[in-house]
Symmetry: C2
Subunit: 140 residues, 2 copies
DNA sequence: CACAGTATTTAAAATCATTTTAAATTTGCA
DNA sequence: TGCAAATTTAAAATGATTTTAAATACTGTG
């Protein structure tokens, strides 16, 4: 898991056209270094003691800002929670209906072709969501 | 657009293992006959004057019940509204970011193969969502 | 066909994740 | 350093959805 310096994170924020504040650096760092799919609440709990000052409101607003600037993506795989992904490369997601764990998968190649063939529509995002029961939950 | 009789709709509900009440028949009929992707609110507004008695609560609870019984599917393409699809055949969806219109598309064939090849996961649902700008909104 | 028990529907209240507001704080720049 | 603009914050508001509890409507049985 690659580690990022504050300098690198700040540069990434500024390249995206937004200021690199302490809160934003911490949130972006968390999203980049943890290959999980956290909700705003989870990000807040993970960082509240590590950042001088941080509020849940800031986490909500910052993640929304990051999505608008293409720094992270938002997953709508489950209607009961909104989560985010620090990996903005195109890939698929599996979600276990039981434990709610989200697993990354490569996107089937044909999906890229499919996107190119769509007419009369300027696509800018694609999400492939698969739901079911994971191995661990099945055993139980 | 195929029309369904109340007899047919009632039979479909009972085959699914639930009672065929007036409200459920009306809601299932609406979902089957209209190739749209309505929210609970939209279904309620469309039916409130056509069904003797109908409440928004019933529409919410009934659509949830239908999803549990596989009669309709729920789309989570947009985190600001939850909508439903009376067509439970596997297919993809495009959504216009501007007008929020949702368009059906055939699912790329390779996605079915992809599902079969997933290991250690019992998949029971797949959704492919594409977001962008539709032709009409692009012109403006 | 009436009755009893169960399922369904309803209006009203509650919930809860997210957004907005407005004030306080921090930042970048002159 | 000091000022204007941006950001963060706590608190309040929002609004879609769910829960509650009472009323209503079914279904099967005698």
């Amino acid at each position: 898991m690659k580690q990022y310096t504050n300098i690198e994170l700040k540069a990434e924020l500024e390249n995206a056209g937004i200021r690199g504040t302490a809160q934003r650096i911490a949130i972006l760092g968390f999203m980049r270094e943890n290959p999980v799919h956290p909700t705003a609440e989870v990000v807040f709990e993970a960082l509240r003691d590590k950042v001088g000052s941080l509020s849940l409101t800031t986490v909500y607003n910052t993640l929304k800002l990051f999505v608008e600037h293409g720094l992270v993506s938002m997953l709508t795989i489950d209607d009961t929670f909104r989560c985010f992904d620090g990996n903005v490369e195109m890939h698929a997601h599996l979600m276990c209906r039981n434990c709610k764990k989200i697993i990354d998968m490569p996107m089937p190649r044909e999906v890229a072709t499919f996107l190119e063939e769509i007419e009369d529509f300027d696509a800018d995002e694609v999400q492939l969501y698969v739901k079911g029961i994971c191995k661990e939950c099945k055993i139980k």
